[in-house]
Amino acid sequence: MKYLKLDSIDGAEQRSRELWEQKLGRPKLEEDETEFMYSFEVSESNEGGSYLLIDDDGMILSDEEKLALESEVLYQEWREQYQPEAVQMEREELESMG
């Protein structure tokens, strides 16, 4: 898995939708459910932007985006800073089930 950082909160959602239409080569049909190429995560606050989660080879991304892909470590650091509530609760739940 690779990760692409977007500066705005809604940037990842918007880019994911664009990439899906790019993949389709046409606008999405109204009756079709599929809307996004990749899933995404957003900051719990108004800062920190959002991330696209790239679970394939990412060949559909632009060259600039490919060069900007980040590793799991950097993504998890972002989560610690911008999704602290979710990260903490995941840890607590894991401990309760261990």
Binding site: M1, S16, W20, K23, L24, L29, E31, D32, E33, T34, E35, F36, M37, Y38, S39, E41, L53, D55, D56, E85, A86, M89, E90, E92, E93, L94, S96, M97, G98
Partner: protein, 323 residues
């Protein structure tokens, strides 16, 4: 109650649709690969063909179940429509008789479960994950829905298989979950206690957890029903069995008197937990959700119906395992 595979095999598919059972309350959510009530006239699910991303609705073959012979809205059978490709499920239609009956959907390509994988018809809808507590996998979400708080009672039913409890040291997979946050809401999950082949099942209501009494084997058809009737708590004058977990007919209870506290309408999930974490590594054939407590007598009848239809061995409890 004993239903052996030989018996269930001989009677397989001869049972009535479970929601036609006399006295069965109407669920809010009702998803299945078979027809859950005879009066339902819609499609079973919608799939996306992997090769060209064309989507089509899939109908019940013989008005009974989804098979490769099922017709699709493309005009071809499912087998012809998909061929050797993969059929990703984008929508699981709600068969409920209620006026408000949200479907389960997945709008992101990489999170769509598979009905057919490279031409192979799966034993249920297959949820693919790379495994692990925080890894990402397939799941559905039920948009604009939450369990109501005006009545805390509810019943969650999940039928499927967990492929492997493969993450040592403790991990959780989401089956049916409606969480605002962890310990805020209600959910049915499966947990792993350090073994790759056995797991247990949990119904959580707010911060109160009730677990199955023993571990259950991976890769076996499993019927899990979690139900909550607050009036059965001793604080409400009941007998102290308000929170109930039944796995393949084996029941455990807990004395819980608590609100669910579900506020958000964007976090009802099938196959993962709060947002997209704790993904299910397994398959699912049926999910039903009632906004009420389904009586234990009816739960038993439901279990028999599902066990016979899906060839589930209700005797496969529980190798005793050291929890």
């Amino acid at each position: 109650m004993i239903i052996r595979p030989s018996l269930s095999g001989s009677l397989e598919k001869s049972v009535p649709p479970p929601l036609d059972i006399d006295g069965m309350p109407s669920p809010r959510l009702a998803y299945s690969l078979r027809k859950l009530r005879s009066g339902y006239t819609g499609a079973a699910l919608r799939v996306r063909r992997g090769s060209d991303n064309t989507e089509a609705d899939v109908y019940f073959y013989n008005q009974k179940e989804v098979t490769l012979n099922s017709m699709t809205s493309s005009g071809d059978t499912l087998q012809v429509f998909i061929g050797g490709e993969t059929a990703f499920v984008t929508k699981w239609y709600n068969q409920s008789a209620e006026t408000t009956k949200p479907d389960a959907v997945q709008t992101t390509t990489g999170r769509q479960p598979e009905l057919i994988s490279s031409g192979t018809f799966n034993n249920g809808i297959k949820f693919v994950t790379t495994g692990g507590f925080s890894a990402y996998g397939d799941y559905f979400q039920v948009n604009s829905y939450r369990l109501p708080n005006t009545d805390d009672n509810h019943t969650l039913l999940w039928m499927g298989r967990i492929f492997a409890f493969s993450t040592g040291g403790g991990a959780v997979v989401g089956l049916i979950t409606n969480l605002d946050n962890f310990n805020d809401g209600a959910e049915m999950i499966a947990g792993i206690n350090g073994t790759a082949t056995n797991g247990d099942f949990r119904l959580a209501v707010d911060s109160h957890d009730e677990d199955s009494s023993s571990h259950y084997p991976a890769n076996k058809n499993t019927i899990c029903i979690g139900s909550y009737d607050r009036t059965r708590s001793t604080a409400q004058g009941g007998d102290g069995t308000s929170q109930i977990v039944r796995v393949n007919g084996n029941q455990t209870t807990k004395n819980t008197n608590e609100d669910k506290h579900v506020g958000r309408t964007d976090r009802f999930r099938i196959g993962c937990r709060k947002i997209s974490n704790n993904p299910l590594n397994g398959s699912c054939k049926e999910v039903m959700v009632w906004e009420s407590f389904v009586s234990l007598a009816l739960q038993e009848i439901l279990e028999k119906n599902i066990a016979i239809y899906h060839n589930t061995d209700l005797t496969n409890d529980p190798t005793p395992f050291n929890k």
